[in-house]
Amino acid sequence: MSNEQKHTGDTGHGDNHHPPDHPAHLAHHFETPEQQFESGKLGMWVFLATEVLMFGGLFCAYAIYRGNHQDVFLYGYGALDKMWGATNTVVLLASSLTMAWGVRAAQKGQQKLLLTMLFLTFMGGVGFMCIKGVEYKAKWDHNLFPGTMNAFYYEAGQPKYPEKLEHAIEFIDGRNSGGNSGGEVQGGGGHGLLDADVPYDESPAIEHDAQQVGHDGAGHIVSASPVILTASFGAPADMSTIKPPASPADMGVNDAVIDHAGVLTTPSAEHTQVLWRDLSSAEQKKVHLFFGIYFMMTGLHGLHVLIGMILIAWLFWKAKKGAFNKDYFAPVDIGGLYWHLVDLIWIFLFPLLYLIH
């Protein structure tokens, strides 16, 4: 088999067995163009199913952390910008429209329109990535990276970057409280930090957890264990006693958190604006998880947008060479399916990440 054969679209077998009416774009092992077209589509759909399940893993991680740590998500989403998210949704939907239109153009053999539509679709991808870049930049300005670099990262129970943490708290609290009550924000952030600075001073958290568990109706063992654990390690009694709450807010927290024992339910209205001080100390240490999930989800999606853009650029190049006509446009159609799937996933990502309520 030679390379020339490969480039002519032959699959490497000698072409002496092709029936005389076998068009050049029809691979030797297919009988008719319909069979080839339908096979390609079927293959692409199967591939899209794998994509759905691959993203599914991330959605699963998302659902579990959101279901079990409501307030962390309510808090963390404050760093995201709803309007940028909505704009990006519109951009992606528009590029989906142009892609579908491009397929129509290819089907009807409208060469110029096809090129225009592919170009517009590509630009949609560019626009999406630019907006994504602006959003990422905003996160990075506040040290909201994924993983160890995140301002909310805790190491051995201590904030790793106390100063960056204070800054990030100020940023998110400011946004969560409507951005107009700076004084309150300062107070909230400062309080959280002070608490965290005391080594192993989780006294409010102990009380909170014991209460929460009790309210959940769990068995004796469960509710008893933290108490027994603290007592049994030989700590003097005063170490396990509870310090009086540092501020009235802490009292409020306990009640608020106990409410949300269920899965995927939203706390009542007055708690939708979650501030740093509203989080239990255990939850404060999980805030960086929100950003981990956010970056994994949008990052993997962004990667798919990039791959889609490469695909569309390739289609554009092929179309420019006149490779497609109304009998042969399968690559445009199949590439379009991929692009629509990228859009489809964003349709779910947008409300889950940007519209947390």
Binding site: L48, V52, G67, I206, S268, D327, D333
Partner: protein, 115 residues
Amino acid sequence: MNAHTNDDHGIGHVSPIWMLLGVFALLIFFTVMTVAVTYIDLGPANIWIALGVAVIKATLVGLYFMHLRYDSPFNSLILVCAFLFLALFIGIALMDTGEYQQNIGPPDTVRPVAG
């Protein structure tokens, strides 16, 4: 050439322009709606509305932009199967992790400072 492919419709379904634009308009309408709803507090209903709207939007994209309505039903079956297995995966994992949350305490509460 095969006579069949010289047919005006070619291979596959050709979507009329009004339909593409109509679907796009609907998608934009739903996007605006889903953002608008977040400004109204409906308690736990909010997330379900947001997800419901997302499902409607995804269905529109699938049926019309991705031609599923005119395709071999098997292609739809593949997509539905994928979502079904995903739902099972998420559903069972969520149920189980929800059940054992009571066993998860903050690791540091077991470690009070020793005397």
